[in-house]
Structures are given as C-alpha cells and as structure tokens.
Symmetry: C2
Subunit: 689 residues, 2 copies
C-alpha cells in the first residue's frame, strides 16, 4: 500500500464564486423574468400581479424555503413573499407593484432544517424512528424559540419552548403512543409559528437582484390614431390648427382610440425644404416635411405658428383628456439646416471639409432637408442634456406619450440614459420606438427602456408568417420586455396588400391588428377612407403624401371604415383577453387562407376565439380545432358551449373539438367569438335561447 | 410661447450602467456560447476550433470592427482574432485552444471611422461627393498614420501619410477624374495598413468576459465499459482480482471501448452489510455492496485486499493504457458504518439523539449499509479538503477519469470547488456525473464542472421521446456545457424493454446509444450476454445483481453481442460524424416504428444516416425523406449518390429525396449508412460497381 499519510491537506481553501460558506447549499439556478441576467429591466404594469419564477433546489432530500423580495428603487426596505414549489424545481410567487416606477426583485433560498424534519417525519411509520424524530424536532423548535426571543417575540418563544419540552418528554416516555406523538410533532398551528423564525444564516441570493420597470396600464393596452394636424382643417386648402384638431376629438374618441399621435408640430425648415411627393424643389405654398425640424421660429421646443401656440397646444391636450385621449408627440432628433442649433451648437453636427453637413440618408431614401446629430460629438454631454431637455419641455406641456422617430439612428447608450432619467422623474411617461430595422436592434431598444415597439406586422401577411411572428411576440424572452404595437399602415408604409383598395383587405388587416395585439394603431383618415394609391408602382409611399403637403379628407364618407373600427375597438375595450399579449394560442384550421387563435384573460374568465379569412376575394371554409374542455376553459368534456360572434352577432351552438367555419369576405372577413359557458341552472332550461 | 429659457440643463449627467463615455456607441448585445451570462464555463476540446458568435451593431449606418479575445487563465496577454459579420448582426470567429485548461474569451467592438468612410465611399458616384469623401478619408488616414507612429511603426506611418497627402492634393484638383480618385481612395493594400492601427478609444467590451473549460478529446467522444473486478475471475466462486481484469483487457479493447470503469474498489463495510439481492442479513461469504465504502482495512484511499494492492492497481492502469483503455474509478462520497472516518471525524456525519447516524435513503430505496456525509457540518472545510484528497490520491495512482456516484446528493458548491481545484492542477481529468435526477439539477451539475453527464436515455424508448430528447441534447443552451453519456443499462437499471431478453431489442438499444451520442457506455458482460431477469416483476434491479454478490460470466458464449458491439464501435471510430453531438438532424420517415437521423462531421465530409427499427418483433417499412442536395452535403440536385450500409455491407444506389426503407429485425435492426459522393471521373465509368 502506498496510500499517503493523510488526505487532509493543509492547503488554503479557495472558495468558488459568490460562496461565503460551504453550507450555503441552496441553489438558485435561474430567476424569471430575467432580461440579459438582470442587465436590463423586465416590464410590468402597476396594480397588476407580477409573477416571478425561480429554479431552486438543494442536494438530496432536504427541504427549501424560497422568498421573493421586492422594493421600489430607493426604498430602504424590501417586501417578502414566500414562493411555492409547483413542479420541476420551479418556485412561483407574485406581487403587485402599486404605482409606476423602477423596482427591484430578488430571490432568497435556504435549506430549512425544520421543514426537512417536518417532511421526513410525515413519512415515518416506525415507532422508534418517530421517537427519535420527535427528539430531533424538539431541538429544532428550541432553536426557533431562541430566534423568536432574539426577535423580541417572547410570547412565541415561550410557546415554542413549551412545545419542544413536551415533545422531548413524550419521546423519552416509552409508553407513549407513537402515532399520537407524531400527531403532536406535526401540529400545524405550532409549525406556523416556527416558520416565522427560520434560520437564514446560510441563505443564498443572487446579487444584485433584477430591475423592473412598472408602467401604467396604457403601456400594455393602447389603441393609437395618427393624424397630421395641418390637414385637420374642414376647409380645403387652409392649414389646419390645434383648434381644428380639437373639433375632431369626438369622432376619434367615438372610434375607440385612446392615444392621438401627431407627427412633429415644430417649425418646418425652409432650407432644402421638400416639395410635394418628395420633390427636391418646392412650389409656392409648399409646407415641407414636419420631420425637417427647426427654422428661424425655433426648434424642438417651438410650435409651428400656423398650428397654434403653446397655450393652444395645452388646451388641446386638456380637451383630448376630456375625451379619454392622450396626445402623443413625435420625437425626431434631427434638424433642418436652418434649425437654430445648427448655428448655436455646430459641435453637435458632423461637418465635412467643404463646410457642409452630410444630410441624412437611409439608402435609397435621401433626406436632403434633414441633418442628423453627431453622436460622436466632443460635446456629447451637452447634446444629450439638450435632447433630454426637449422631452422635459413637452412633458411640462402635459405630454405623457412619445413616439420616437428612428431611435435606431441615435446612439443606443443615449436612450438608456434619457429614458431612464425621464422615467425616474415621470414614471407615467410612455415611449414608443419607431424602429423598423433588424430584429436584434429592435429588441435592444426595448431592453434599453422603450415601453412599446413598432413591429414587422405590416409585412407579415400569410398565415405562416403571422403565426410565426405572433408566437414569437407572445413568448419569452421578448414577452418580458418587448411590447409590440402593430400598425396596418403608417404615413411611410402603404403595403402592397392595401394598394388594391379592397375593402375586405382593409378590414381583415384591421381585425388582425386589433385582435392579435394588445396595442395597435392606424394612420388616419388614410386608413378608414381606404387611401391606397402609391406614389409609383412598387413604392410603399402614398401618392400625394401628407408628409409633404396639406390634404383635405372627407371624414363623413359613406364607405368609411370608422364604424367598423369603432366596433372592433369596443370589443377590445370590453374583453380583457384582448388587452394583453401573453396567453395567445394559434388553433389548427385546415385551410391556409384561414387563420385562427384564442386569447384568454389572466383569470381564464374571458376567452375570445378569432378566425380571419386572409383571402379578400373568395369565401373560404375549413374545420377549426378548438377544444375548450381540453384547454381548461371551464367547459366539461362532452358539454355544449356557445360561441358568440361579437362582430356579426351570431350565436353558434358548439360541441366537441372540431367546428366548421366558412367566411365569405363579401359578408364578413372574420369571426371574433366570445366563449359563453352555461351555468348548471341555465343548462337545465335555457338551452336553445 | 412659454418655452423655457434654455433646454441646456445644468444638472449632472448620471451615466447608464457600464458607460464611461457617451461615444461608446458599439453595442454587444450577446456573446455565444454564454452559460448563465458567464457565471459558468462553456466547454470545448483542445486542438479543435472553438466558435464564438457575438451580436453587435451600432446606430445608423456606421461600420463596426469586432474582435474576439482569448487567453489561457493566468496568462498575461490575450490573443485577438477579428470577427466577421455573417448576417442578422451576428459576428463570428473561432480559435483553437492548444491544450486542456481554463481559458477566458471576450468580445470587443468599436465604431470604426475608417471602415465607415470606406463603406460609404464605395457607394458614391457623384464626383463632388467623391471629392469631399477623399478629403474626409485623408484626415482619417492621417490619424491612422499618427497611431502607427505612436506604435513605433514609422514605415507604415510614412506610407499612410503619403497616401493621405496625395488624396488631399488630388481631391483639391478640380481637373482630377473622380473615378480615378475613388479608386485611389479605395486602395486595398493601403487600407489593410490603416486597419492595423484602429482608433479603439471608444471600444465596448463586456466585463469580465466568459470562462471556458478546455478538455481533451476523450471528454467529447468516449466509449465506456463497466465491469465488477470482483467478478472477473475465470474460476467460478473465486473473488476476482486486478490481475484477472488485466487478462480481460484484450477482449474489452477488441470490442472498441476506451474507458474501463469500475465500481468502488475500496474495502467493503462489514456493519449492516447487505446480502444477496439486497437482503438485510448476510450469509457466509457475502461480499456486500462495493458502494458501502470503508472498513477497518481503510476508506476511500484504500483498496479491498481481495482485489489486490495499490501496486497491482497501478500495473493494471498501465496495462490498460497499453490497450488504449483508461481506467475510470467510481467516486462515491459516502461511508459504511465501519469506515475509519466515522470515528475519526464524527463532525462529518449527522448524529441523531440516540447516537446513531441516519443511513442513506432514496425512497423507496434504503441503504442501511451507507452513511451520508453531512454537508452542513461545522467542519465543512476539513471535510471538503479530505474529499478532494481522495481525488488527488487516485490521480496520483494514474487515474484520469472519474465516474461520480449520485453527485446530486452532495452539496453543489462542493463540486464547483473540488472539480475546479482538481482541473486547475490536472486539466486532463474527466468527471462523469451519475445523476439520474430532475433536469435542472442535472444541468446544474454540468455547469458546475462535470465533463460528462448521465442522461434519461434508458427511459426514452419511443420515436417521439427519442427525437425530443436528442434534439434537446444537441441544442443550445445545453450543448455548450452538458455532454451526454448514454447507457442502455447500468448495474442499477435493467429497463423493462430489455427484460424480455430479445436479441433485437438489445441490438437496437445499442445502435441508438452508439449512433446518437458521442459518448455511451454499457454495463457488461451483463449487456453483451443479454442478462435480462429482474429481481421481481416491475423492478429495474437485476436478479442476483453483482452489486451484492460475485458473478461468473461465460464471456465466450456464442450468442454474445461482443462482435456486434465491436462492429458498432469500429464504425464510431472511423467516422468523425459520430464523435460529436452537434449537427444531429432527425429525418422524416412515415412509420412511427422507424426512427432516422443524419449526423455530419464539422467539415461536412463525413455524413452518416442511421435508420433504426424500434420494433424488435416485426419488419417495418416506410419512406425516408433525405435530400443530400438540399442539405448541402455536396450532392448536386438530380445527381445520384450511394448509401453504404456500414452494418450490413450493402450499397444502396439512391437519387432524389425519398427512399424506401425496410428493416426486418430478424435480419438487421438498423441501417448505418455512409453517404458516398462520386467524383466527376468516377461518375463517368464506375457507376454500377
């Protein structure tokens, strides 16, 4: 034998990462939500439960206790919620953040000697084992009594001590009945006292926890209407004003919108001003692009005089509130060549050797009327502060929602800072990122703090595309931080599908947007009036786009989709299932032109099944697979149920899992069906109402 | 107007996380592999490329440069490899760690003014624009010249300066041809010099980078054979010895194994020793369970005298090496009641009030002959050091592979520390985790440092189960750190499928293990001799299990599967496609009893298609979907190819994407087919060989 003298080494013990003591045995393998391991904040809504899942375990058969901690940032203390094990080492708990703001949450886990003992004793049947276990438990209870006393809870301490001594005494009495002893040892009332004084000396927690941004409900569920105030005049040819917009508010509110969004309202540059249809030369009276911001009248903190004054604007904001509408302003951080900042802060722009600034380009698009900011400026601090000042200025005027133009062409660290700062002071403010760009870039912006994000919806047209995209949008990890806002059209995007002007196509894209996504918007009145001519074949630009000229709209036209929009938005407002993105499940239907899905409210009470015919020309039919019994929607197997079509008004009597669907676009492009379950009494006498 | 006097706030600028300067504009959104954000190490193999992917971008249209850095831990300097953009903001590079050990890698990205300029100029056609661009570029090149000079590269500096001045001069000459000027500005030779001196002042990196464990190839690809040395005697009834095992080495090597693994070889406890078939009382001559470690002869550093001495053991290790076999030892950190440590270190065990230690249990299994260590011991440091001392002891005897028994019943922080320490000193050592437990626990052990992991393979039997499980095993995130080792049987698990003793079932489970997983093992000679009787109906325990008694095996039996095993292992050895887990793709085949998949080597040269009939009773047939042209396997569309069945020897002439397969288990349970592509010359004259 050549065994060494001793296995006991004298070498120092280098501890693994984060380990203070080898007895920190509880493992927290993961915490969800978790955006890039806590580098970025998850998002939720004030007044609603925020659910946290933690993957925790320990070696062997010992029992854990796991706590969820949360606090509003800056508060001294944390609130604690006990987590419960569901299955597969997944522990769950939730809390309701009361008000918007920045919060933190974390998970703490420890191996609990009392729970381990309790759990083991429950399974003991052998009398000798029970007697020994009672003595082991008595020691644990005594230790808890000591901790109670240290915590100043003398009464609990005394009670636990009494229990421990009684157990000890009865365990020593060989005449004692083991079953009775076990019963006493498992006393639930006393156990609940012990549980108040756990031994957390060797608890594990993940430092420094996870950030959470809590928004108000509008961030989760919103319905947007975009219009150009300058086209709001009821008289053809007259420049619209804020007062004109004010007159439109009742009609917009009647359509069921809650956010009214304006393109930039600032003075429009005169240098390099664009003419109609993006012409490089202007004609008399050309109003230019509102995104060419700034002229001698002022820049990002000024208002185009033709629209009105700051006072008019504040009056409009107030009037909109009265109609349940919030005004969203477009934040486009760029300057017309005659923006005052170009002269005042030349360091914020990138000058070329010929003394010019390279105008903005997004090949093949050229924006000769726009100078981009230079985010490599030596004076980046001054520029950042000024840009954030723009946000502060409009917040001071009552604006609480910003739609940010092309955020992906401004430095990403700027947004993290600016949104973070603004929301620290004004947690109610909502930012929508207008970034139609590569997927990772769009996700980064959402991580950096944008409350909502534009999406690829406009270009997701087939069933396969829609199913894949909305499955992604309603799944982790994006679900935790990326809130989609889907738009069937924008002033920049007239999709080829709409260029036919097909009434059915305009309706079906609306139904898809309104029923698939908790937030959606349209650019009107172009949408409800089915404006559909492109600037030229193959272009996604509108002909005679409002981006470059005033337009006069006949809002009262008989074929306007306004009543249909109002109907869809009323359905959204009445059904919580439609006001969130999680819980979306696509349903099989054996026709590629028919797409079907179900959404449910968190409490499972509200269930909406939508089926859309993607073919605007022909009736399509097929068999829908929908089994409310198997999906846990409160229908017993074999029981009949009703599907109430909220769009068409029909009530379908259904049973089983397969249902025949036929949709003729000449009649209706979609069913939006509310699942009606009958109570037992209704089932008895009211079967065929 | 009520605009504020100035938007320029005097408030201090609070910077976002990790941002030193607002001009750090490059974003590194993710780095892959990344195990829990770098909390744990990814794994790879020395001498083989380790591929890293980084998701990097910047706002707008500027160009990035991205570098991969890597170093062996403890080295002062990093090696740098330029990453290349593939698509979707995904940058790729790889490096080859030369030897086993702990490494780190990281990614650095910066916005590169020269690349941005170069990229923009390439698209310029307007002569005035080109002239301005040439002057902009000249300034960038001059700056690079300065950096070259600072780096002591005077020659490069002079050359760049010359280029810059020439560009400047020609740009100023209005007679100069713009196309020629552009050509000179885009000179690739000179550009490559500029690229050596980038401006990294505002580079971004993720601190502190990502750890990497580099193993030797055996960690990736290994073939294990388990036997009980005490049953190795050729004479029935005699206790086997290391010398007996030595005599078996040629046969084991001939079967194609490279790891020979023994259950514990230590003195077996006498107190509470188990009898045959796990009986609580022993009869004369009962040898007990080798997992009941320790007796008066010694503990974890001792050898059961009946097996031999340390000298014999070292001789066996050496002889095995001569046959291409490494000895793997079972590390079971637990003690028989008469293990010396129980008396020497009572603090390492959990004593009950009656002066006993609670024996190990894994309900319903009871291990009355085993005391677990108490990982809550006050002397945890002493115990950790002693347990690691066991590993050091056997490493000193030449052992380089450990199979760790039930690691999930020992504290997780211990493994991270012990494996980390051992591998820092001995990077060649391989640890296999025998944890048949919940999925998150098994994954945690792999993250903590185990080189390989037992799996659920034994209980994945249907096509659906196998496809789902092996898809998971060959996918991220597990693929980066969890290396499966699959076992059709173990001394603890005789699966119900094998209890019929069906020759076809024993063969098909072998083919699944050997062809699906880069590492697999069997417990022999029980497997090759088709040992199949359970201890009782419904049990997964073997009847007359070697765990509790000596067994005598007739290794030369005519129906032994040894030649079949040798054949499978020879195929594995000849085909790199089978020696790794990534790149597995299951193929559609329209029969639920037939399962088919393709594996390919990293260079795409070696392609193996396996089809297994999961029904051991009946012939099964179906259409296999396999299109080597569409899968990029070097077959032109429409071209024929051969599939050479390495098991049966047939050569199938194939074309197109659908292939008829029929497998009769009476003939063969599987095809293991090597894709043969013909060169052009072969195609001309050798078509029907």
């Amino acid at each position: 034998m050549s065994a060494p003298a001793s296995l006991l080494s004298a070498q120092p013990l280098v501890r693994p990462i984060g380990l203070a003591d080898g007895r920190q045995r509880a493992v927290i393998d993961a915490v969800l939500p978790c955006v890039d391991n806590g580098r970025f904040a998850a998002k939720c809504v004030a007044g609603e439960p925020f659910a946290v899942e933690a993957h925790c375990f320990v070696e062997g058969h010992d029992m854990l206790r796991v706590m969820l901690h949360w606090q509003r940032e800056g508060e001294a203390s944390w609130t604690e919620v006990e987590m419960a094990l569901k299955w597969n080492d997944e522990w769950h708990a939730q809390f309701v953040p009361p008000v918007p703001g920045r919060y933190r949450y974390n998970v703490e886990a420890w191996v609990d000697a009392f729970e381990s003992w309790h759990h083991e004793l429950e399974r003991r049947v052998d009398a000798a084992d029970i007697r020994i276990a009672a003595r082991v438990g008595a020691a644990e209870i005594l230790a808890a009594a000591d901790r109670a006393r240290e915590a100043g809870q003398a009464q609990d301490a005394t009670r636990l001590q009494g229990w421990a001594l009684a157990l000890e005494a009865r365990a020593a009495d060989v005449g004692e009945d083991a079953a009775l002893l076990k019963g006493q040892a498992l006393d639930e009332t006393l156990a609940s006292i012990v549980r108040r004084y756990p031994d957390r000396r060797h608890a594990t927690a993940l430092k420094p926890g996870f950030p959470l941004v809590v928004d108000r409900p509008l961030a989760r569920y919103s319905t947007w209407y975009e219009l150009f105030p300058r086209s709001a005049s009821p008289e053809p040819g007259r420049h619209g004003t804020f007062a004109d917009v004010q007159a439109l508010l009742p009609g917009i509110a009647k359509m069921g919108f809650d956010v009214l969004y304006f393109p930039p309202i600032h003075p429009v540059g005169r240098m390099q001003r664009k003419g109609r249809n993006n012409a490089l030369v202007t004609e008399d009276g050309d109003v230019g692009s509102p995104w060419a911001i700034g002229a001698e009248e002022g820049g990002h903190d000024a208002i185009l005089p033709a629209l009105g004054t700051h006072e008019d604007f504040r009056a409009l904001v107030k009037a909109a509130r009265g109609h349940g509408l919030e005004i969203a302003l477009d934040i486009a951080f760029q300057c017309a060549p005659d923006h005052p900042w170009v002269k005042e802060h030349p360091a914020w722009f990138k000058w070329r050797p010929d003394g010019t600034v390279q105008y903005a380009e997004n090949p093949p698009k050229k924006y000769q009327d726009i100078y981009p900011f230079n985010f490599e400026s030596e004076d980046w601090e001054g520029m950042w502060l000024a840009l954030k000042g723009v946000l502060d200025h409009w917040i001071a005027q009552g604006v609480t929602v910003f739609r940010v133009d092309n955020p992906h062409t401004k430095a990403f660290p700027f947004w993290e800072w600016a949104i973070g700062e603004v929301k620290r002071a004004h947690p109610q403010v909502i930012f929508l990122a207008e970034a139609f760009t590569r997927p990772k870039v769009m996700h980064r912006l959402a991580k950096l703090g944008f409350s909502q994000s534009y999406t690829y919806f406009t270009w997701r047209n087939t069933k396969e595309e829609l199913v894949a995209y909305f499955t992604e949008l309603s799944s982790r990890p994006g679900l935790d931080y990326f809130r989609p806002n889907v738009w069937p059209n924008t002033p920049d995007i007239l999709h080829a599908q709409l260029q036919t002007g097909s009434d059915a196509m305009f309706r079906l894209r609306l139904v898809l947007a309104a029923m698939l996504s908790a937030s959606y918007g349209i650019y009107g009145p172009a949408y409800e009036l089915k404006e559909h001519l492109p600037r030229h074949e193959g272009s996604e630009e509108y002909l005679d786009s409002e981006k470059y000229q005033l337009r006069h709209w006949d809002r009262g036209r008989a074929d306007s989709l306004a009543p249909y929009i109002a109907h869809l938005n009323a359905i959204r407002r009445a059904h919580p299932a439609l006001q969130r993105n999680e819980g979306l499940v696509f349903l099989p239907i054996d026709n590629d032109q028919l797409i079907a899905w179900v959404k449910q409210s968190p409490d499972g009470q509200d269930v909406i099944v939508t089926v859309v015919n993607l073919d605007p020309h022909h009736a399509q039919w097929g068999w829908l697979q929908f089994d409310p019994a198997a999906m846990g929607f409160g229908v017993e197997p074999g029981q009949s149920f009703q599907m109430h079509d909220l769009l068409g008004g029909e009530r379908f009597m259904c049973q089983g899992a397969r249902h025949f669907i036929r949709l003729d676009p000449a009649v209706s492009v979609a069913h939006v069906m509310h699942l009606l379950r009958k109570t037992r009494s209704e089932r008895d006498f009211d079967y065929y109402q």
